[in-house]
Symmetry: C2
Subunit: 193 residues, 2 copies
């Protein structure tokens, strides 16, 4: 998605350790008009008539997932992150390693709000190693729901997280901007796949 | 807002300790159409032409704040919650007590994204004691920005959190459903103020 790549080129900041900050328009201050355009782009990629719910993980995925769910006319469901060992019953859960917290966190979704009848589109704003995404996929499987697709705004392609989702059979995967390389010359994107 | 009160009456769950769960449509699975209607309601209450940014706190406020910001044509900015003592520089911060985490957390907003030129509408989905809301107000003041209004979807009026904001001079405060009492007879709402 050219518009998104331009924003990343223009406003993204490259920090030591190949960290790319897009917190001016995607995951701290959020450009809601851009999110609307991203939702339109996903509407072209996925068969949105099939989808019954958009799933994401707190916190930064919520904004984009909400705009997408509203565009597709379905509810948005976000997995909560628990750092406690004291997890209630009645929850789907998946343990993932969080780079934000530098430790394992558990993704939680109430069994009340996701069932085998659901057709799920997972949406996230950012994917690096794909651990959180795998946790969301695990939760969809735990519920016996049908995973219809995975949509990511920005993928750090050089960390390899997206490749295992591209290889999943029967699940459409789409990242709108895949960062191939980050170095002193700036940010290089992968050609659209 | 009658539609919201009806949803709370019909789908809200009262748990021991006067806890009211609205996680089926507001803060876990989110009814995005309802959020659109709530944003329309806030558009009637606040002078949205003045607003330059909608501010909220992660995580559950993000969905509603995003839909409101999109409706008003401005960015959405969410304060991050840090549980660490290791806070970077360049941040506005306010320490608040979190009932979710049962301890103090620090609300953080990058100084890059909020300035004295901003006219801020704070939006949150739920308010009980108002501690998190006070933290957001403190951050607006720290930035020297102008607080134009505070909009809350559901207020637990009997916990008194809303009253100090109603008493603020020059700041419009609006809660769309104020719960006055919760007992064996169910949920009683305050008349619209």
């Amino acid at each position: 998605m050219e518009q998104l790549k331009q924003r990343i080129r223009r406003e993204g900041k490259v920090l030591p350790g190949n960290i790319i900050k897009v917190d001016g328009f995607l995951n701290h201050r959020v450009d809601t008009a851009l999110l609307g355009d991203i939702a339109e782009e996903f509407a072209k990629v996925f068969d949105t008539k099939k989808i019954t719910v958009v799933l994401t993980a707190e916190a930064s995925g919520i904004a984009l997932a909400t705009v997408c769910a509203q565009r597709f006319g379905v509810p948005m469901l976000f997995a909560k992150k628990a750092k406690s060992d004291n997890i209630e019953s009645g929850l789907y859960q998946s343990e993932v390693f969080s780079y934000t917290y530098k430790k394992k966190v558990t993704l939680l979704v109430s069994q009340e709000w996701l069932s085998a009848d659901d057709h799920v589109l997972i949406i996230d704003d950012f994917m690096a190693n794909g651990f959180a995404m795998q946790g969301l996929v695990d939760i969809v499987n735990e519920a016996g729901a049908t995973l219809e697709g995975i949509g990511v705004a920005v993928e750090k392609g050089f960390q390899g997280g997206g490749d295992k989702f591209r290889a999943m059979k029967g699940v459409r995967y789409k990242a709108l901007a895949v960062i191939e390389k980050v170095d002193e010359n700036g940010i290089t994107f992968r050609e659209d796949d």
